[in-house]
Symmetry: C2
Subunit: 358 residues, 2 copies
């Protein structure tokens, strides 16, 4: 079985996804029985290209490396219409499956245009995998419903903690368990900066480090003002706790130059200042917040240094469990997309391998 | 769909499994479309009972609470023959599924007779779920092969860290990821004792605490000599790293009264003495060990106090990730069996709900 992939967005994450797919081709084909070919790439400022039999992905990567556009097809169409147009032109053979790989950047105002991309893709009969937090953070319930109606999948493992299983963990490995609350550290830039400021580095220098490492968002406010963490919190609360909130309903606090003194004071008192994302079911629905908290040194979250992320889940049957990411990077984010693609393939195989008698 | 359950072993874990199944009946039926009824109970010293239409589970629990035997049927048969006999007598209707719930205690010499129970059950066409570490620790590859031949499942989530997903995590949420090594704290009794000894409690008193709490094994050597941790290490290494070892090939160290001074010295030096289970792929196969290690204070494992357990997995694509259990108890172990039962039901449903066209 071959997935026909439409890449909407072709930045670092999408490019790494393409090379990762190539590197893992043999393993994936052997273990999960599928292959993937890129049939279209759609960017905001670097052109568009579509080829029904498949594109030469390495040539596209090479073009982007040289700063050239990927192509100049259908530039008159909106992205949504481009997706629709491709869906019409691709024959819907049972062996072929259309998947939109959405990696546009987060828009914290409304989660657009990513939400429109996801909805259009589902309506056209495509599955969607995305590393963009926006769709799950702003419109999880509507998009999940659209996916159910279409009989397609809408997956976004990469929205929180890269490829570390969070949504898959809850969906696949905690059956009959109710998650009632969570608290975690989910933004790498601010966590690194808090550690650096504890050690005496100024705010600006710490932020510059994260920009140089390619980890901070281009718009620094998304990180330091807590928006990225709020988007992740909204996505987690929506999916895991059934909340109906957007990032704007998450009570939010960020970090600033004046936070430095607080980090040093906390450390001197044997504690750690951390930007904690949390949500809990309460009598009046789900409350969610991102805020600075002074944690006891033996708190699991206090020990997450620099680029480590982690979430502690409080559950009804299993007590508390935590999952921790101890390294992050482009490969991990690209892997999240790949793992979503494998989830789609597995679902398809489970159906296909059905015995005629139970 | 109704699972017909044969309980082999009817101690605390099996009894809690029965009440948990009862408590969660509505949720499980709604979400996973199955019910479970106990049709047989087989104990070593408290009798046996079988009823094809199903037993009154609460009456059985009450009998055990009073110290009475569960029944006196087929006492002339071996457990293996009892399982075979039941399998013959239960009509193999498509709506009914036979599952052996194995909860006998760990035998560290050879993993018997649990391995024979598992093998017999699979050969009779029953699925097996077990909280006993023995079968996976001593015979994982052989039993997995037997399950594949029989077209049945052999699941043992409860063998390590109770119901916290470890085997499910690797199988369901880390597709195409290779685990190359792990290190963790997997024995609660020794971890609690090390923390207690750091704080000045003598070895014997700390062990007595764990016995009083019902956490230490009846045979204290299984805990303090590292056998329980070695069995878990062998199971993890066999399943996750493809090792072909038994607990006896795990390089093993335990704790004793003389360990107390080392815990205090480590703590004084700002470090923590922990009993660490680890395994790694090397050029000459998989090496596995359980041993005391002085860990830096900022090591994630150093922060696991008292009854917390945790494992750090080293992977090829995702770097390191860790999963931590922050509370343990009978419910968590019983939940492991329930989650295995749900895994079997899901597998069945995936087959059943197959569309006729892809």
């Amino acid at each position: 079985m071959t997935f026909d992939l439409i890449l909407v967005g072709f930045g670092h994450v999408a490019q790494r996804f393409v090379t990762l797919l190539e590197e893992q081709r043999a393993r994936i084909s052997g273990a999960y029985g599928f292959d993937g070919r890129v049939i279209a790439v759609c960017t905001q400022r670097h052109g568009r290209v579509f080829s029904e039999p498949g594109l030469d992905a390495s040539a596209l990567l090479e073009r982007r490396r040289r700063g050239a556009s990927v192509g100049a097809e259908c530039l008159d169409l909106s992205t949504v219409d481009f997706i629709r147009d491709i869906a019409r032109r691709v024959p819907s053979a049972p062996e072929s499956r259309l998947v939109v790989v959405e990696t546009t950047t987060l828009d914290i105002a409304r989660g657009q245009p990513a939400i429109d991309h996801v909805r259009a893709a589902l309506e056209c009969g495509a599955h969607v995998v995305t590393a963009n937090k926006g769709p799950a953070a702003f419109a999880y319930h509507a998009l999940a419903a659209a996916a159910a109606v279409a009989g397609r999948q809408f997956l976004f493992e990469g929205a929180v903690m890269d490829g570390i299983p969070i949504f898959n963990l809850a969906r696949e490995t905690l059956p009959a368990v109710e998650i009632v609350a969570f608290r975690g550290i989910v933004n790498t830039t601010t966590n690194y900066m808090l550690t650096a400021m504890e050690e005496g580095q100024p705010f600006d220098a710490a932020l510059a480090d994260m920009k140089a490492a390619g980890i901070a968002e281009a718009d620094a406010s998304l990180d330091v003002d807590g928006w990225d963490a709020a988007a992740k919190t909204a996505a987690l609360a929506s999916v895991l706790l059934g909340a109906r909130i957007t990032p704007h309903e998450v009570v939010r606090e960020g970090i600033s130059a004046s936070t430095a003194a607080r980090t040093v004071a906390a450390r001197a008192a044997g504690r750690r200042l951390k930007l904690v994302a949390s949500a809990a079911r309460g009598e009046r629905g789900v409350g969610a917040r991102v805020g600075l908290q002074e944690l006891a040194a033996d708190d699991l979250l206090a020990g997450l240094e620099g680029q480590q992320n982690g979430i502690i889940f409080q559950t009804d049957l299993l007590g508390e469990l935590a999952i921790v990411q101890r390294g992050s990077g482009l490969t991990q984010t690209a892997y999240a997309l790949l793992s979503d693609l494998i989830s789609i393939a597995r679902q398809g195989r489970a159906h296909k391998s059905a015995p005629t008698t139970a």
